[in-house]
Amino acid sequence: MKKYLLVMICLLGAGFVSAAENRSRIIATGAATTIDGSAGGGIVPMAALSGYGAREESGGVAFASYVHVPDYTMSAVGGSWSWRNRVEFSLADQRLEHPTLSAALGVPLQDIRQSVAGVKVRLLGDILYSKWPQLSAGVMYKHNHDFTIPGAAGAKRDSDSEAYLAASKVFLGGAMGYNLLVNGVARYTRANQIGLVGFGGDKNDSRRWYAEASAGIFYNKHLLFGAEFKQKPDNLSFAGEDDWQTLFAAWFPNKKLALVAAYVDLGEVATLPNQDGWYLSVQGSF
């Protein structure tokens, strides 16, 4: 937690001295950063690429996020860099702490770490200017560093890749004059709890397509209120896995900084039901 706070403070500092104001895309079009490291909301990525670089510019972000639900906490740190609003490269490091589960299982293990590397390509369109949504395709490679519990739970492997397609559009003045963000994602995956409980399982071990969506309304160019939905696999007979939802407020005070707060509903996570709580994320752009 201390290390995490330090990262947050550094990010805030970096945000204030960064060059993001010189990048040309319009404020908030760089989105926030998901816990997987790709530009998007909190749990659902978007077709938008990170940073504010237009097609003759490049830029990136660093982020730190924190999730707190009754029996788990998770922190994620990482960053991404986008080249000419065409390709986004992202890295994230996630750490899940599971004290209740450890006590129930009688094991000394306290946390699970996962690293995520991602690439996302903007295929066509512009989230603001084109008639059709901006369309991007991405792949992620995830490696779970603490496979003991996931393995015991029946997960088949500690590393895997997944792919997704994202379509995003901001309808300018689309909701009573306010800008309306609509985003849909199809993800091809077999990750259990995004990979924190490994990949594949006894009930299902093949990748399948899952739907994710988010929508929001910009109260003004700095403030976005919205919701996300993430359909998830249910591969393990050891424990049910629920879909995830969030209700969020994102604040973009300027092009250097973004802060996101959310209420999250993660459902049942590794036998422990009713995991709803809160989420905080800070992003610095450069």
């Binding site: 040309s24 319009i26 200017y129 300018l172 910009f218 919701a227 939905f229």
Partner: protein, 138 residues
């Protein structure tokens, strides 16, 4: 989940009920308002190194009156824009995505400066965003 959907539906439907009586042009402040926005836009452009060089040799008075007319015509101000199409005006210059964004940003700042409400800004931007394909990389 039901709550999430309800919230979204509420926000979307709450908006459609309002019957706008004024034209976008009037909500931009009419002739004086649009004049002031365009003037401030030109001021902002003159201070923006990303695009200021593109205006070297441009007849600013012609640009100003042309843009005022164009905004009037796309905002139902009753003007008929008689200038060259956006495609013709920008052809051969290879204006970039960066430059387009820079102009949009300067326009937003100009509207902020003139205290144009968010919803009115968005409606004008929605009209002008349609020209992206006619302006960029032509």
């Amino acid at each position: 989940m039901r709550v999430v959907i309800l919230v979204i539906v509420f926000f979307i439907t709450a908006c459609t009920a309002k019957a706008p009586s004024l034209s976008l042009y009037e909500r931009l402040g009419g002739e004086e308002g649009v004049d002031d926005i365009v003037y401030q836009l030109i001021v902002n452009i003159s201070r923006d190194e990303r695009v200021v060089d593109r205006f070297k040799g441009v007849d600013i008075e012609k640009f100003r009156t042309g843009l005022v007319h164009y905004i009037c015509s796309v905002s139902n101000g009753g003007c008929i824009y008689t200038g060259d199409s956006m495609q013709v005006v920008h052809a051969g210059h290879n204006y970039t995505d960066t430059e387009f964004n820079a102009i949009v940003e300067n326009l937003i700042h100009a509207m902020d400066h003139q205290r144009v409400p968010t919803a009115v800004q968005n409606k004008l931007l929605a009209q002008l965003a349609k020209d992206y394909g006619d302006v960029v990389y032509q």
